[in-house]
Amino acid sequence: MTSNRPVPALGHPQKMTSFPMMDMISVCTVLEDSLDQLSILGYIINPAPYSTHKNVQWPLISDNLKKIQAENIKKVHSDRQYAEDVIMGMLNELEDSGSFLSLLQAVEMEKERKDHFHRAIESEKEGRNKTELLQKQLDDIKKEKEVELQNCNELIAHLKDQLQEMIAKTNMDIKYAKKDTDLQIYQTQKKCSISESNLQQNLKSIQNKIDEEIRTHTELENYQRQYLQELEVKLEHWMEKYDKDVDQKEKEIKNMKAARDKDLALLQTLAEQYKEHERVIIEDRLEKEKARQEKRQAQLELKSTIKIQAWWRGIMVRKGLGPYKRAKSKKGVPCIIN
């Protein structure tokens, strides 16, 4: 390391390396001492895992060692090694050239390492945070998904139930339908057989009827033929009779016409006679009526005349007129009731 140090860096330590010879010797001495101590410490630490319990010469250190964990020991060991190397390098440089540039370089390097380390830590921290966040997100998503999964499971269970139910129902339906259909088929078959037998019977009876009809028909036909013959005979007879009758009737009509003419003539004369008689009767009636009227009038006149005469006689007596003047003059009492 020291050997690879760049040349421009040498100038600076030379300015500061104006150690007097004395100082330089003392520093070298101190450094040699530190190296010794460090190597001793290295010896102590290295066998530590095997000799902690047996070595009672360093109780304090061994107590501390007990508490330090394996990693820490390792780290301390490496640190000690590093310090030893640095001091060794510096001592060699001092002895060679009287400068301590290696120390400065070592410090710089250490500083850089520390920064680098810090950066690493920070980036690690960030990474951890990020990881945590992601973990958290992951957890959330996981939870969510679990809930979803549960829901889905529930849904599946529900659907399965439904499916089961549907299957059961369908089975029942199928069973019922099958039964129903079977029964219907059975019923229809039965009906068909009944109607078939009925139709068969009908057919039989109709057949019988047809036979009977045919028989009747032939009988009737025979009878009618016979009857027709009879009728033809009768017709012939009637035709003859008709001709004869027509002749006879025509003769009769002739006679009757003649009689009617004669009767009409008689009627004419009788009507004339009747008219004349009627006229005579009416005249006679009128005359009689007139006579009756006259008689009634005469009677009425007679009655009226008698009434007037009776009245006038009464008047004359009561008023002492005409022939009754005598009575008045004689006694002076002409009328008592007045």
Binding site: I306, K307, W311, W312, G314, V317, I336
Partner: protein, 161 residues
Amino acid sequence: MAGEKETAEAIVSDLQKKITEAFDVFDHENNQTVDVREIGTIIRSLGCCPTEGELHDMLAEVEEEEPTGYIRFEKFLPMMTKVLLERRYRPIPEDVLLRAFEVLDESKKGYLTKDELVKYMSEEGEPFTQEETEEMISAAVDPDRNVVLYKDYISAMIIED
């Protein structure tokens, strides 16, 4: 009832008194008889107007079995009382009389000529004597027109009555 009977009796006795008075006028010999010919006059003077036929029927009722020509008061009184009580032969009412004249007035002129009147009265029915006819003519005939305006004539006679 008793009152009515009394009034009835009173009426009867009143009538009988009148009948007696009328009879007495013609009882010339005061022996309760009158000439058969005077009976008509007596009945008419008592306010009745019988026809000659009816008079004849009444006479037949009161005459003796053997006609003597005289009528006795004791027979006449009950017959006449009955006639008056039953109000038979009442004077002929004006309208009936008018209708009788109208019957004679055949052509409905509203009057009779003097000849018509004389003919009917002296020839028809129970004919008037000459004297009676003349008396009627003098009372009924309108001297100017020589006709009988019978409506006026009847009215005049009835009013005078």
